[in-house]
């Protein structure tokens, strides 16, 4: 607009903020208005580039932005008011932080001169969010807004990604006060320069170790998804004939239908993945962080393994498990370098040892193999996930909440593509699933988006059914309704003699009527034979939100399950079997 004119356009702080978002390529902002952000909302109203999605609770705005980021790789943007608007966003910010999701959260703040006075809707959002953000900043001068927006996106999206909070006092956005607007092209910070490439010497050492390995395992995590390195990972794994296991956050980075895939690892990992890890001589960890839900007891972790660890965050290396060959770098360029070196490398794989190793893994595969009891009278949650996989041809975006249903989805929906499995792995946030599905559906309206949830989790953000109506978000909700907080109940069964302390949902709503009340379609499934026609009907209703309330076996547990305090390969395999 200013191309003929060398003078930069004069804009108010609020207009600069929105223009900066547009210049950053932001299409949607998720939020909720309030006193401190009224100037910003007015600026939003007067343009059409950046669209606003009005949620019903700020937590949902953060999860929508978060899920958009998980599906697209670009930072999601949230706009909330000061005080309760900002504090309602806290759970969503922490969720993004724990899973290293790029997000920019813009919070209103009371007028600068009121800060510290306990003014109406004042809260120290910089202080509250400090432990759960990659960085946070406050606007002190309106003319700094374009620079600070650029800085926020740069920090959120580079290195190990994460949420950035930008706190904006109301007087920074006054419509009558205008300043020359120019959006910086790039930004350099002397104090922040994430090392991207990885040390070639270390990479060579890693490759030599992998080529000599007799019992290797590739263990990859969310870093491969965030780093968009799925292709490189897959190519390298195939060239080196490596068994591949993914963390909960890493599912889809390697195709689950590939014979080299041995399943998820960790607490509810597959028998073969956990056995392979425990017995490995070389563990090749890529963009994973040896989290406690993976390692089980760290003292007993993989006793004979040489550990190669690629991660962009040096603090993730040797934090819980010592890495013998650390490589600090973004996974994509590091894996590319490995592939290049492999081209030139004269080293040979020990095919005989690898053959034996694969034979051993095959035997482990047969021990459990993801089996569960098929019961003709009761619907099994695992069977529901398998049916959803069939009906969506394994190509849906699947979001989940937290609990048994999350684990069943992770185990039985075989993800062949990255960015398709969207769940709160680190923080374990109930209430994540529905808004997450909404965030994905908004950006990928033609894609099938399924929210796998439970009757406990779904009620933590059920108000968003209203937002779905407003924006026509035809997500499919698979409510695995067992009348219990299933994972809590499972632990109570296993450790507390089935004393169900507060894990029983006593007065559940009629979810079908509830969905209808919000203007959607509700279908109840109580018998096994009703499942197929219900799914048929639900997925045929393309543009409709369909709430499938599926009554599943309330006694089901998630297996395998690592035995607490044990090694990786110590597991319960069913209610009656253990290793």
């Amino acid at each position: 607009m200013t191309s003929q004119n060398t003078q930069p356009e004069l804009l108010s702080g609020g207009a600069m903020l929105i223009r900066a978002l547009a210049d950053e390529g932001v299409e949607y902002v998720y939020g909720y208005p309030g006193g401190a952000v009224l100037h910003i909302y007015d600026a939003m109203f007067q343009q059409h580039q950046v669209k606003h999605v009005l949620v019903r609770h700020e937590q949902a705005a953060t999860h929508m932005a978060d899920a958009y980021a998980r599906a697209s790789g670009k930072a999601g943007v949230v706009l909330v008011t000061s005080g309760p608007g900002a504090t309602n966003a806290v759970t969503g910010i922490a969720t993004a932080y724990m899973d290293s999701i790029p997000m920019v959260v813009i919070c209103g703040q009371v007028m600068s001169h009121l800060i510290g006075d306990d003014a109406f809707q004042e809260t120290d959002m910089l202080g509250i969010s400090r432990p759960i953000v990659k960085h946070n900043m406050s606007v002190r001068r309106p003319e700094d807004i374009p620079y600070l927006v650029k800085k926020a996106f740069y920090i959120a999206q580079s290195g190990r990604p994460g949420p950035v909070v930008l706190d904006i006092p109301k007087d920074m956005t006054i419509p009558s006060q205008k300043f020359p607007y120019e959006y910086p092209k790039e930004i350099k910070l002397r104090s922040y320069n994430p090392n991207a490439k990885g040390h070639p010497g270390q990479i060579k050492k890693a490759l030599t170790t992998l080529l000599a390995a007799k019992r290797p395992v590739l263990y990859s995590g969310g870093g491969v998804i965030l780093g968009q390195a799925s292709d490189e990972l897959t190519t390298l794994a195939r060239k080196l004939n490596l068994p591949v296991t993914n963390t909960l956050m890493g599912l889809g980075a390697y195709p689950a239908s590939d014979p080299q895939f041995i399943g998820m690892l960790g607490m509810h990992g597959s028998y073969e993945a956990n056995q392979a890890m425990h017995n490995a001589d070389v563990i090749f960890a890529v963009g994973a962080r040896f989290d406690d839900r993976v390692t089980n007891a760290t003292k007993k972790f993989c006793p004979n393994a040489t550990i190669i660890h690629i991660d962009i965050d040096p603090a993730s290396i040797s934090k819980t498990i010592n890495a013998h060959i650390p490589i600090v770098g973004l996974v994509k360029p590091v894996l590319q370098e490995m592939l290049q070196q492999l081209e030139k490398n004269q080293g040979q794989l020990d095919q005989q040892a690898l053959g034996q190793w694969w034979q051993q893994i095959q035997q482990w595969r047969e021990v459990h193999g993801g089996r569960y009891d098929h019961n003709p009278s009761l619907l099994k949650p695992q069977a529901v996930i398998e049916a959803v996989h069939r009906h969506t041809k394994g190509d849906a975006y699947v979001t989940s909440d937290v609990g048994q249903h999350q684990m069943f989805a992770a185990q039985y929906y075989k993800f062949d593509k990255p960015n398709r499995w969207i769940n709160s792995g680190g923080l374990g946030t109930m209430g994540f699933g529905l808004p997450a599905a909404m965030g994905v559906k908004l950006h990928y309206p033609d894609a099938e988006v399924v929210c796998v949830t439970g009757e406990g989790s779904i009620q933590m953000n059920i108000q968003e059914l209203s937002t779905c109506k407003q924006y026509g978000l035809g997500v499919k909700i698979i409510n695995l309704n067992n009348g219990y907080l299933g994972m809590v109940k499972q632990w109570q069964d296993m450790n507390y003699d089935s004393r169900y302390s507060s894990s029983y949902m006593d007065s559940l709503p009629d979810f079908v009527k509830l969905a209808e009340a919000y203007g959607h379609v509700g279908i109840r499934v109580t018998k096994a034979e009703e499942l197929e026609p219900a799914l048929e009907r639900a997925f045929a209703l393309k543009d409709k939100l369909v709430f499938l309330d599926i009554h599943v076996d309330p006694t089901e547990h998630v297996y395998p399950m690592q035995i607490p305090g044990g090694a990786m390969n110590e597991m319960f395999l069913s209610k009656t079997e253990r290793t």
Binding site: L126, G127, R130, P131, K134, H135, N136, S138, I155, L189, R190, S191, Y192, D313, P314, A315, S318, K319
Partner: protein
Amino acid sequence: MRHILSVLLENESGALARVVGLFAQRGYNIDSLTVAATEDPTISRLTLVTRGDDQVIEQITKQLHKLIEVVKLADLSESAHIERELMMVKVKTTAEQREEVKRCADIFRGQIIDITANTYTIQVVGTSEKLEAFIEALSGTQILETVRSGVSGISRGERTLSL
């Protein structure tokens, strides 16, 4: 093991809170912490004394590095370095004690920087151990007040921590 970490930090509001918050959140110890601007007013230098085994210290330095405002840092205790702490002690001095306290301060190269009819205020500079030894040496005297600056440190020789 005791370590002295020197940190160059962007001199911005909230930066110090981030450093201190990190130690609280992750359960690391802080024995002492000093901070002030350097010859470059945009940079603060922070000296932090902490304890932990090698793994903990490695995590502390990595986590500090992750903070966006941390520009550079060094573990001074990894090589030859000089550390100093300043202490001011106000003691009650009766007429017959005054000579003894003065002599004690002299031995520790302390200076009496304020006097009243009943008190001496003594300034001592040195390592933390020396300051503790001085307090020990004053055991026959009634200490009214002690204030210590916390440790500041710098490496010996030509090694520097600068931009």
